[in-house]
Each structure stands twice: as structure tokens, then as C-alpha cells.
Amino acid sequence: MTAVAAAIDEFLPATQTELSRWMAENAEGTARPVYPAGGRTATEFGKPQRPPGISLCTTSLNRVIDFPARDMTITVEAGIRMDELATVLAGEGQRLPVDAPQAHRATLGGLTATNTSGSRRFGMGTMRDYVIGVSAVDSRGTMFKAGGRVVKNVAGYDLCKMLVGSLGTLAVITQLTLKLKPIPESSVLLWTTFDHLGAIEPALERLVTSAARPIALDVLDARAAAAIANEAGLALPDRRAVLCLGVEGTSREVAWQVDQLVQELGPTGPRETEVVSNTDSAKLWFALSEFQVPSDDPVTFRANLLPSRTIEFLQEAERIGCALQAHTGNGIVVGHLPDSMTTVGAAKEQLARLRERARQARGNLTVVHCDAAWKTQLPLFGDFEPSWPLMQKLKRELDPSNLLNPHLTFSAAGTS
């Protein structure tokens, strides 16, 4: 078996047990690096130097184990595709309200390991708020679980939180139990344009004590607005900066909130306001979520900032020519550097400037995607976080031979 394992470059286990057995054999045998993969939507992240190893594909682990709909929880294998999961849940009027780009490829395990989210995170939270149980296999093939199948549980350490966002570096997630939410009766987006990004700040300040409770608080620069309107196939005003608010709930409360928000934003000087509802809102939610996917842009970065410092960061990035989406309520920015950024030197210089801004805003900046040749010179993992030494200890305990995604472990100080 070991010889067979060493000979293949991709392994597609049919069961969790098979995966675990294979991992054990690999660890005891050739000990080749293992690269867990789901829908391969995020495989580009990380250092360019990847020791040759085996891609461990989880897509055959896609069964629904238990869906007690009346408990509003589901237990599924991690390789299930996000669109398939959404269909299963919708059958019972339920959903996992975490936005999943590329849902026709992305797997639940991948979404969890990368802690992917989108505009709804302001009101609905992120994966850490929904994973209540996990099964995983460590680099030595040990299958372990944590949490459970009930919505409230404090028995043992919360390894669910440990694995959410761990990028497949600590263990391979094989099964997840999720807390679910009902699909709301109504979902509407309010698309409001402003003269420029800076003009949105008073509106954001006003929203801190809004009588409404929007679940999404996105700011888009004009480039992103145009790209998103185009992706959604909607004729929306897209020549200016946009504040896009999402409201969900019963039809009555949504209608009330939309009126309320329009009224509250009035004095802050919006130019055009569009209410996007029904099937159009689904298209717009989709486009808002897909914007974070790197395409042929030279660099896609992600910044995490204090919400109050988001606009000034966006202004700086807009000057460089980036296309920008910010989940402003959470201080999360996704930016794509412009095509005009043709040299690594130029990209490096501009990212350094943005990083400095992020630092001033108590945050960080990481590079999600760039040309492989540029990777050695760009700040892939962002600035040194004070807790990195602890993270390294954790990695050493759980994966002492550094077999799992070795290119994704945090270097001492990222790249300067």
C-alpha cells in the first residue's frame, strides 16, 4: 500500500475511514507532504515553494449523514459542494447564511478551512458561528472529533474554532455539523450611490444607531460597483461609490427597514438609490459574493481593519486604481490591483503603502492571489501577529512532521 500511495499524486478517498488509513500509511511510510483539496478554489494561497506531495481530494466525501431539520442542524461530510448543500437545506426552508463564492465548485470543508465569508457576515456571522461539531484526520491518520450535534455544548476544547480558518494545516476536516437558520421570507438590497468614497462616512456613522438592522453593510468603489452590477446582470447606477445595505426578514419588517434606511440616509447626501428585491436581489447577493474571487488581476489582497478606518483605507487604495469591496461593518476589505500594475516592484511598493495604512488601522493585509513568481516578494501572510509563536507551537503538536500544507504555515514574519 505504501508503495502505491507514494506513486500517485492525487488520492480520492471514498470514505473517511479510507482517508484516515491512507494518512496513517503515508505518515509511517514515505511521509510525503499532503495537500488537502476540496473544490480547488483556494489552492493558490501561500508560499510558492511546495515540496512535492500528494493532493488529497475530499470531493467524494459528500454524503449527508443526518439532517434532523426540526432541530435546525445538519451533519454532512466535508466534501459536499456548497450549491448541493444549499439545495438540501432549501428543501426544508433552511440555509447556512455564510456567503460562498464559486458554490458550484467550493466544498463545505474548503469554505470552513479558509473561513470564507461575504457581505452577510455583518448580520449573520461567519463559519465559526455555525460549526458546532467537527470530525477530522490529523497528519498521522488519527481520526478525531470535537463538539457534537447539539447547538449548545461546552464539553472539551473547542477544536471547531481551531479548525475553522486553519487552511488544512492542522488536520483534514472530514465531517461537519452545522447550526442552521430559516430562509427569510424576504431579502432586499439597497444600492445607494455617493459622490465619492469619503462622502459615505457620514452615512456609516449615522447607521451606528440606525433604527433598522441591516445584515450587510458593503461599500464599493466605482470600479467594483461596475464589476458587481455587470456580474449581477442588473442595470444599476455604477459610476460612483456605492453603499450597499442588505435587509432580510419578514416582508413587513424588510419593507419597513428599507423605508427607514432611505429616510435615515437622506440627509447624508446620496445621489441615486435603487431598491433591489426578489430575483434581482439573489443575483446581486451572488455578485457581491463572487467579487472576492481572484480572476486575472495581478494581485488580490484582503485587509482587516477597524470598521471606522475602512473608508480612509479605501480612499488610499482607490488612488492606486484598485477595485474595492469593503464589508465596512466588519472592517474587511477585498481589493484587486489594477492590470496596469505590471511589475512586482510596483505591486510591492503599493502594497507596502496599503499595509502601512492597515497597520495604522490596527489591522493587517494578506495577499490572497498573485503571480507565482511574485510571491517571494509580497506579504503573503501579512504582518507578524503577536500570537504566531503560539500558533507555531500548536502546529508542531498536531503536525510535528509538517506534512499538512507545509507551504501554508506562517513564517516567522511573513515577507517583508
Partner: protein, 490 residues
Amino acid sequence: MTTTAPTAARPDIAAEFLAELRRIVGDDGLLVDRDELLVYECDGFTIEKSIPDVVVFPASTDDVVAIVKLCNQYQVPFVPRGAGTSLAGGCLPVGGGVMIALTRMKRIVEINLRDRYAVVEPGVVNLHLTQHLKGTGYHYAPDPSSQGACTIGGNFATNSGGPHTLKYGVTVNHVLGAEMVMPDGSVVNLGGKVEDVPGYDLTGLFVGNEGTFGVCTKIIVRLTRDPAAYRTMLGVFNSVQDATQTISNIIGAGIVPAALELMDQGIVGAVEAAFHFGFPLDAAAVLLIEVDGLEVAVDEEAQKIIEICRETGAREVRLANSQKERLLLWKCRKQAFGAIGRLSPSYCTQDGVVPRTKLPEVLEFITAVGLKHNIRIVNVFHAGDGNIHPILLFDERDAAQVQRVLAASDEILNKCIDLGGSVTGEHGIGVEKINFMNRLFAPADLEVMAKVRQAFNPSGLCSPKKMLPTAGACGTEQIERKTPGRRAAL
């Protein structure tokens, strides 16, 4: 023999060590008299007791660092403690040593509404933060029933819940970051004031560590908008079965109220005697249901719930008419445990969790267990989460009764496991449920948890013999449960 401070509870704590501790925290920052130490022999879980050798009251992170380093130097175990309201023995100083009481570190360091966070020291009382925020439109969402006493540091350590966690989530859903003094005395900042800090979610992993990963000295918490409106209802049922079926139907209909609590006849009687709310004493169970949100939405949601209650046989559904009535209802619920003294000299409560659809089954089982062991059991619990709190009433002077209570408790918790649930929804493992870890988790699961602790607390000096059955550096010995006892409110 080394000369020890004459007041030391245990002579093997060297005078030199005590003198150095005293230099760090000052004369009024430490307790060594046995009489004073007795207060710290247990928390809200009173079955097992263990007296610390010394209790210190640091005033700053620097103090904590110095204390922890000193403990390392002398190889003395230490355990952090908040208000001591834990119900599972989480801050029991097993084997003695130094108890680090964080109640003097109670500053609210920063409030930032624009960025929706607050920075607090660990000794800040949960309710004080929300009171401090009054009028801003924001509050701190986790609301354990002991919130008038428990500290946010303790909430962080145990991942506390509360009635409104049904809608708003538990402590971990509201913590952005923390400053930790690690077991070796180093200071590490986890997470931050911003979200999605690159790297592992150590903040999430550290919440609920029950003091085994170090001493938390600062917490950054997320603030939540106040709901604009509430509707608080009381559903009255002639059978517990109907009440639990109603819970299942409400959740099954996709309605997540802000809170959904059950009190059975036994507890209603005690609460009524204490607070005179006007509960119907002949009802088998009442449901306390609250919806919150926008004024425009709450009536519609309340109406749906009322309809479900009626369909499942509620004989009456009352709506609280005023904020005063609402607060009284909540007072009755949150102080229900205080009323139990009217029923029995001693009591013991459990903290099991079952999938919400299994509530009728587990409640039936609890009744049967009570009959089988001839122990009276009353119920008041977070029904919407499936988090049961059966309260077993007994007289601790009767040894045979005590044994029956222990047997009944074990049967109930085992049933929770069998039904796909857990043995603790919010109280923690502590020392109380450490024997259940082997039933709930496989050896491989516990081995990984042990490795995680090894990464953060390799010496095992910090909170030894907690959480994991293999806890501590000295092996697997466990504290033996002797008598169940009275518990504090939850």
C-alpha cells in the same frame, strides 16, 4: 523544615515564596489565613472542596505575570478565579497552590461604539458592562443567570451561555480578542479589535479553556445593538409533554425566539411563593418565551408562537403587558434557583443538552428516573437550546438519598449522550463531569485535546487536573464525588 509564614495553611509553601508574593501584590493583596481561605475552597459547585494555600489579588497584568513566573520558579500550581460562580468546579484549586483571584482587575478599559467593541479587565461583572452601556443603544449579549455576580473573565474561561443565547449566541460568539498571561508567564495578545486576524482562531480556541491555557487578563468583546422591541409571553400547559412538544414545534417551524425557557410545576410553585407573580399553580409546565427585534416585526412573530402554543394544547398564553411585568417574569426565571430552598434542604442540578426534538423524550426519562430512585426532580431550563437543567432535590444528611441522587444524575447525563447530546451546555466540565469525558469522546479525541493543551500549558502547573481525564502532569487520578450539594443560581 523550612520556616513558613505562621499563617500559611500549608507549611510546605515556603515563607520565601509567600514573601515574594507579598512583594508583588502588597499586604492587602493576599490571603493566607485558613479562615479566610475557606471562602475559596469551592465555587458554585460545592460537592468537592479543596483549599488553596494562598489567594492573591493582582491589580494588573504585570502583577499576574510576576505571580505566574514566581509559581514557575517554585513549581507551585496556580489556578485563576473570577467570581466563583462556576457550577462545575472549574476554579477548584485541586491539590492546593496559588489561587489568582482576578476580582480587583475590574476596569472597563475602553468602549468604542463606532467599532462595536469594549475592552474589559477580567474582573468586570457581566451585568456592569451592560449597565455601563445603557442609553448607547448597545449591550453585551451573553447573559448568564448569574450575570449580577459572574465576571467576564469567568465567562471567557467557561464560554458562558444564558437565556438569550438562543438567538444571540454564547460568549465565544462575542469575543474578538484577549490578552493572556500564558502558563510560563509570557504575555500574548490573541485576536484583536479587528476581525479575521490572520492565522489560527486562537481566540475561539481559548474561550472555554476553563483556565487550563493560562490567565486571561483582558478581553475584547463585541457589542450588540439593543433590540427595539420585546414581546414576552407565558404559555401555560397541562402537561410537560405538551410544553416540550411546543418547543419542538416552534423551532421546527423555523422560528428562533430570543429566549425560550421552561419551568415545570415544581419550580413554578417555589418561584410563585418567592415572587408572587401570579403563576398558575395547577399548571404542569409554563413556557417563558421572548421575541425581540423591530417593533414592526415582534407582533407577527409573537402571534405565530401563540398559535403554535394553542395548537399544541396550551390552555392559556399570556402576554406581558408592561416592561415592569416583563422584568418580573425574567426575575422569576433568573432567580428560580434561589427559590429552591423552599422545596428542599439540598439540591443538585445537571446541565445536559439534547437535540431539541428529543426534549419530550428526555423529560419523560427524567420523570421516570425520579420515580425509579424516589428522588423529586424539578425542571427549569433553556428549552430552546435543548439545554436541560433537571434539579434533583434531597437531604444531604441522608447518605442513601445522596447515592440515589448521584445514580439518577448519571443516568440522566448518559441518556443525553445516548440521544446525541452532551453532558454540559454551559456550565463546563471542571472537575464535576471529568468522568464523562471518556464517554462523550473517544481516546483519539481526548489525545488531540491533550496535545492542544500541551502546546499552551506544557508544564501543567496552570489549573491542573481539569477538563481532561488525563489532566495534570501527575497522572489520571480524579477527585471522587462524595456528596452532591447545593448549587448557586444559573
